[in-house]
Amino acid sequence: MEYIIEMLGITKEFPGIKANDNVTVQLKKGEIHALLGENGAGKSTLMSILFGMYQPDKGVIRKNGQEVKITNPNDANRLGIGMVHQHFKLVHNFTVLENIILGVEDTKYGKLEMSAAREKVLKLSEMYGLMIDPDAYIQDITVGMQQRVEILKMLYRDNEILILDEPTAVLTPQEIDELINIMRNLADEGKSILFITHKLNEIKSVADRCTVLRKGQTIATVNVADADKEQLSEMMVGRKVKLQVEKEKSNPGNPVLKVENLSVKGRTEGKNSVNNVLFEVRAGEIVCIAGIDGNGQTELVEAITGLKDSIQGKIILNGKDITKMPIRRRTLSGIGHIPEDRHKHGLVLEYTVEENMVLQSYFEPRFQKFGFLRFDSIKEYAKGLISQYDVRSGMGEKTVVRSMSGGNQQKAIIAREIDRNPDLLIAVQPTRGLDVGANEYIHKKIVEHRDSGKAVLLVSLELDEVLNVSDRILVIYEGELVADIPADEANAQELGLYMSGSKRREQ
């Protein structure tokens, strides 16, 4: 069997952690090979080694059977290896064409020579069905388009081995379908694709083979057709994982949150980021706001929690108008908030776990007396939450939060917010950047909170999460709610149409 790229027995150690331990990945010519693993499993390290950003401590890399040394990304490029990073490396005020040729420009007497490049780009674009406009500015095109520009960049450099790092994280369902088509086209033309992911659906729909990593080790390489999703996830996490969130049908009670004709001013003049939004969340139901990032979800939540002022409308919590209330009083009136950005809002990173655990309640009599913090009860409380919510850290409640992993930081926030038992829990992308195991846990906690008769407002960009967890789905598009569908009647395709603005409910 002929392999175009082989990484054999790769070991890479960082201080205190073995990121890759004797990992082997073999990529065939013309195949789509998925690299599956949880966060911290060592996928990114492995790809960084292949792309020349790290040197392996042990192991060899072979191309077409010949051993090669890759000491920097230029070496990788020379060997025909290209990479699309999760965060695109594009110059926003350059055109598509300028971005593609950046670094490999043709010049004539010191002047840029673009006509040959333009021809090549157009030819490639047509060949693989990328449909890009070489003269559009990056800042004006969609994220999906930008990703294609990145792919074109690799093709323009005649790369044969394409690495895609979590390529679907930023795309809508329709865009994902298009990307999958593009990937198939590329493979048909003889390009080999290695893509990193932790989403099982994508692997099933596009990959030929899949290598599973766990804790830095290769667990297995399997033919995707022979394995089902449950098996793959078990290999990835190391135990059985319930992909489907188990929950009873919801039994909504009285409205807890009512949002009436709410508008929030946008960053640019004349356009509201949230426009005349009207909805309610009832006790015992999970309402999800779905939408593509940047369509006003953030602003809507900030208006409800008081981080941002609204310019019109009312927010009513348990029959009380909280529109003008300061943040602390809203929190005490029964709002729990798992914020979108845990580093910006959710945590004081320099504080310890115990200090962060009481960030919303340090002023309560149980944690202070005459203005003096009661360290004993704070410690005890934090210890309780740590064991109950399985927050793992080096030094228990005294760990400085900055040193903890993202998943455990998130668990700490969830512990803090759910333990306060708020009537309304607002969870914004609660599983962002977390892996399947942590997802399962967080979803379970959210459903439990609903089952105890509380209301949950979930904001998510991930359709799987939206469809799996919620009881009712609202779709937000350009600051307006364009759909309100019971979750059991919704499907990904339809939601995608709403999210991209091509469909909206009749007013």
Binding site: I327, R328, T331, E350, F372, L373
Partner: protein
């Protein structure tokens, strides 16, 4: 035995020990650098001069008293800068707060005749604290509500404070013969509390007074506020992460203003303690910013912004100053002495960068 060793290693790696050893290292490097300068400027006397710096402060009880006297104002401004730092602000306005506070104290000391005994002194301190806090309100408000960088507004407040105090001194409490403020009433002078009878050599007494006790007390209070109270919890949270504090319902604008005011109050009190010390020092009408304000910055830095650390580093820097005076015995020009002391102080502060290095070293050892 093995266990003992492990314990030692983990002690090495703890944050506080790492910080402390970094400070000590920094001081040693600073001293070494000072010695090099001595050798360059006056090689024949360098060793004597260096000895004077090292041991001058300890040579007799009077000198030790002088150390405490000189430490008082810079501990206060050091606390001021450290407090602001802990709450995410850079108080470069200590100088202005210091001199306005000093003026308030002197004004009360000269003009208010109705108070008798120690209450006169206490009232002067109180007014100085109040005025110092007031002088920091504007930078605080501008920072909190208009996001104006406090460094810029503080620097402007320094100049406004200096010129205004010059004007006020001339108009209200001016001693024309000496071109400085009048001496304050006896009752407004800091009580000696018997310290002068401890810190003396023969009949020559030092200028030490109750001020040092006030400064140490202030250090302890600042420590308690920052580390033990909900109020300090809020202020520090704002300093570390303003957005997260807002999220947690802390009034972050109020916290910023209060942090600035407390920092200002500490500086203002420092001004009062210097000019009420009874050592004959008065506010001179000069167009020069009060140096004590800026000296607070290295004091805070060297004390790692920890209130107790600030007290120690303030005493250390005063100790160098007193040692420096003794160097004049060995034919060092006062300017050279100033340079050497500054070099030691600033190099010490610089060398704190080694803190991270030491921490890593200790951690690495532990793993092996």
């Amino acid at each position: 035995m093995k266990k003992e060793h492990n314990k030692k290693c983990s002690l090495l790696a703890t944050e506080s020990f790492g910080s402390f050893s970094a400070s000590v290292m920094a001081v040693l490097v600073g001293l070494l650098f000072g010695l090099v300068i001595l050798l360059l400027t006056n090689p024949s006397q360098a060793v004597y001069g260096f000895k004077a710096i090292l041991f001058g402060g300890l040579s007799d009880m009077k000198n030790l008293g002088q150390v405490l006297y000189f430490a008082t104002p810079i501990i206060m401004t050091g606390l001021s800068v450290a407090f602001a730092n802990k709450t995410g602000l850079f108080n470069i306005g200590a100088s202005g707060q210091f001199i306005t506070g000093a003026f308030a104290a002197v004004f009360v000391g000269v003009k208010v005749q109705s108070l008798t005994g120690v209450s006169h002194w206490l009232f002067a301190l109180f007014m100085a604290t109040l005025v110092g806090a007031f002088w920091a309100v504007l930078p605080g408000v501008l920072k909190a509500y208009c996001n104006v960088n406090e460094v810029i507004s503080c620097i402007m407040m320094n100049y406004i404070g200096m010129y205004m105090v010059n004007l006020l001194v001339k108009n209200f409490v001016f001693d024309v013969r000496k071109n400085q403020s009048m001496a304050v009433a006896k009752t407004a002078v800091s009580p000696k509390m018997g310290l002068d009878s401890i810190f003396k050599t023969g009949y020559s007494t030092s200028s030490v007074n109750a001020g040092i006790l006030v400064a140490v007390l202030a250090g302890i209070i600042v420590y308690i506020i920052l580390e033990k109270t909900t109020f300090g919890f809020e202020l520090k949270a704002c300093g570390y992460n303003r957005e997260a504090s807002r999220y947690a319902g802390i009034n972050e604008k109020r916290s910023i203003v209060l942090s600035m005011m407390i920092a200002g109050a500490l500086s203002g009190l420092g001004g009062a303690l210097l000019y009420l010390a009874g050592s004959g020092k008065s506010i001179e009408v000069l167009d020069v910013l009060a140096a004590e304000g800026f000296n607070g910055i290295p004091v805070a830095l060297l004390g790692l912004n920890h209130p107790i650390g600030v007290v120690i580093s303030g005493i250390f820097i005063a100790y160098l100053n007193v040692g420096g005076f003794n160097m004049q015995l060995y034919n060092f020009a006062p300017q050279v002495i100033e340079v050497i002391i500054s070099v030691i102080i600033y190099f010490s502060a610089f060398a704190l960068l080694m803190k991270g290095f030491i921490m890593r070293l200790a951690k690495g050892k532990e793993e092996k």
